[in-house]
């Protein structure tokens, strides 16, 4: 009951947002949405299966550039480039996923870091394809039949729709036998295998799906900013998404959303700090891990006495308590 009401309320607020917010924050919310999708894709691998990826910016890049190139150079429609980019990124996910089987922990971390870096270098140097550091400009906004999504509000709804779809899919999968298999692999690979789970297949499929979703986020990003260059896809982005996931709460869907929101809007709140901003940010990350390792969603887990949290109810509590800077985290 509580869940339904919460869900309705939040949906209402999110839908009404363009009327509630001035233009600049509205733009931020579009980015928050895109990064929320990216964070969810990372959370699938890290939070639910228990692998590590520090190169997700690479998938983000593939999705963004694929769609950008297809629309700019070949005039393909956005609605076609979206699935194509997702599939192409998924293939990259396959390439990274297979080595991931033989390696784990820090070995895997190295491979994923290398992947991100390689993608970045390629985007800088394969000039005939990506236009190098000059980047790709004039990426068109998608159009609905003949109506172009020109305004921020309209694009926001597109992102919101995709985000909602991803969240729903995740939620369904997590609650089913598929999600249980993921969690089992995370908890104990050997135990999971002895229960009949094909651990290798779980890992590879997770990587593929995660990559595809990251690619979709990339497409949404490209068509919003309308100008791409390699600088937006460095290891900093991979780390930033990682931080979003951790701050929100690993293994929690709503955590990814909250984390993306918190990490993206924080710079704005701390604008006045100028060059000290990043410094404070780093300090906050450290403090966060020291005092609230479960992430922001764990504030409400305290109410529930659980460690693995149920998405929707938490969103409610977290909205109240977790996001504001004056509320100190509790020790869980």
């Amino acid at each position: 009951m509580y869940k339904r009401i919460t869900l309705l309320l939040i949906s209402a607020v999110l839908i009404a947002l363009p009327w509630l917010l001035p233009p600049y924050p509205m733009q931020l919310m579009v980015f928050v949405g895109v990064f929320a999708i990216l964070t969810l894709s990372l959370n699938l691998i890290v939070g639910y299966v228990g692998m590590i990826s520090l190169g997700h910016a690479g998938f983000f890049l593939v999705g963004a550039y694929t769609s950008a190139l297809l629309t700019v150079d070949f005039g393909v429609s956005f609605w076609l480039t979206l699935p194509v980019a997702a599939i192409l990124t998924a293939i990259f996910g396959l390439c990274v996923g297979f080595p991931a089987l033989k390696l784990s922990g820090h070995f895997l971390a190295v491979i994923t870091i290398a992947f991100g870096l390689i993608m970045h270098v390629l985007s800088v140097n394969l000039e005939w394809l990506t236009n190098g550091i000059s980047g790709i400009s004039n990426i068109p906004r998608p159009s609905f039949f003949s109506y172009v999504l020109r305004t921020d509000a309209e694009y926001y709804y597109l992102v919101l729709a995709v985000l909602a779809l991803v969240v729903m899919v995740f939620y369904q999968l997590i609650e089913s036998g598929v999600g249980r298999a993921l969690k089992a692999v995370r908890e104990d690979e050997t135990g999971a295998a002895c229960m009949g789970i094909n651990v290798n297949r779980v890992k590879v499929v997770s990587f593929v799906v995660s990559a595809a979703i990251a690619g979709i986020a990339g497409v949404l990003y490209a068509h919003y900013v309308r100008y791409l260059n390699p600088d937006s896809f460095t290891i900093d982005i991979s780390i930033r998404v990682f931080i979003m996931m951790i701050i929100g709460g690993i293994g929690s869907i709503s955590g990814s959303l909250i984390g993306a929101f918190a990490v993206y809007t924080l710079p704005e709140a701390l604008r006045f700090l100028n060059e000290y901003y990043y410094l404070v940010f780093g300090a906050l990350v450290v403090a966060m891990m020291l005092f609230l390792p479960g992430g922001l969603v764990s504030v409400s887990a305290a109410f529930q006495g659980k460690t693995i949290v149920h998405p929707r109810v938490l969103l409610w509590f977290s909205l109240k308590g977790g996001r504001k800077e004056d509320r100190h985290g509790r020790n869980t």
Binding site: L173, G177, V178, A184, E187, G191, M195, G196
Partner: protein, 272 residues
């Protein structure tokens, strides 16, 4: 002691080969230069409760690990229902019908009891990712949830179904492991020290479960050190020492076996 039809037949002279469910032939497993399993050969008959005993470090758990696929054998063959399972990955072996519990409990501690048992039913889900996306998995899900609840009741933990596995007591966790292994719908259950650390009431419960599982036609291969339970419960027993099989037979035969006595009393338990 339950006398199965196969045993009655064997005792009257019929060929025991037909009722062999698990056959281990000349199994070797090395760790570095050490042979944890040294030319082990044994048979487990269909439907029997078979004990596996031996001093600490004799290779019992290693044998179970090789049987369940967690470790690969270095040499030798393992035949389960005439199928070669030596060297297969654990999930394939579970598919073939072998389930197991672990010496150091390996539950998914952050999941609930129900979820743990449901994971055991993974092979019998009857649906995949696409079915979930199309929301067509409800019926199948309900079916296995019912089955899981059945199994949880079977082990007597109905009241703890939704509790987080990590919050249960040691003895209760062992019972959950049994329920979870049963969810894989095995023909052969490998139980690794299911009685360790249990109080007498819990021990009785496990013994009762074993009898009921065997009554339902499941074969049980059981490792434990609690002799006063193992001897009356098991129909046949295999004894390992330093990775070698030193005896295989009825409890009476094994208890009188000079090598077995020497292994336990004479030289004492060696190693870890």
């Amino acid at each position: 002691m339950v006398e199965t039809p196969e045993q009655a037949l064997t005792q009257s002279g019929w060929d025991a080969e037909e009722s062999t469910q698990l056959e281990i032939r000349n199994l070797f497993r090395y760790f570095g230069g050490l042979a944890a399993l040294n030319n082990v050969s044994m048979k487990v008959l269909r439907g029997e409760i078979h004990g596996l005993i031996g001093p600490n470090g004799s290779g019992k758990t290693t044998l179970l690990n090789v049987l369940s696929g967690v470790l690969a054998p270095n040499k030798g063959e393992i035949l389960f229902d005439d199928y070669h399972i030596g060297g297969l990955p654990p999930n394939r072996i579970t598919e073939k019908g072998i389930g197991r519990t672990f010496q150091n409990i390996r539950l998914f501690k952050q999941l609930s009891v129900l979820e743990n048992v449901l994971v055991g039913a993974h092979l019998h889900l009857g649906y995949g990712i696409f079915a979930v996306l199309l929301q067509r998995h409800r019926v199948a899900e309900r079916r296995i949830v019912n089955r899981a609840r059945e199994l949880i009741d079977f082990v007597g933990l109905g009241s703890r179904t939704d509790d987080i596995a990590g919050s249960l007591s040691y003895g209760e966790q062992r019972l959950v492991e049994i329920a979870r292994a049963l969810a894989t719908e095995p023909n052969l259950m490998l139980l690794d020290e299911p009685l360790a650390g249990m109080n007498p009431g819990e021990v009785n419960r496990v013994v009762d479960l074993c009898k009921r599982m065997a009554g339902e036609g499941k074969t049980i291969l059981l490792i434990d050190h609690t002799m006063r339970v193992v001897m009356p419960l098991c129909e046949r027993i295999t004894v390992l020492n330093f990775g070698k099989k030193i005896a295989e037979g009825t409890p009476k035969d094994v208890q009188r076996n000079a090598d077995v006595i020497a292994a336990y009393l004479g030289h004492g338990p060696k190693g870890g």
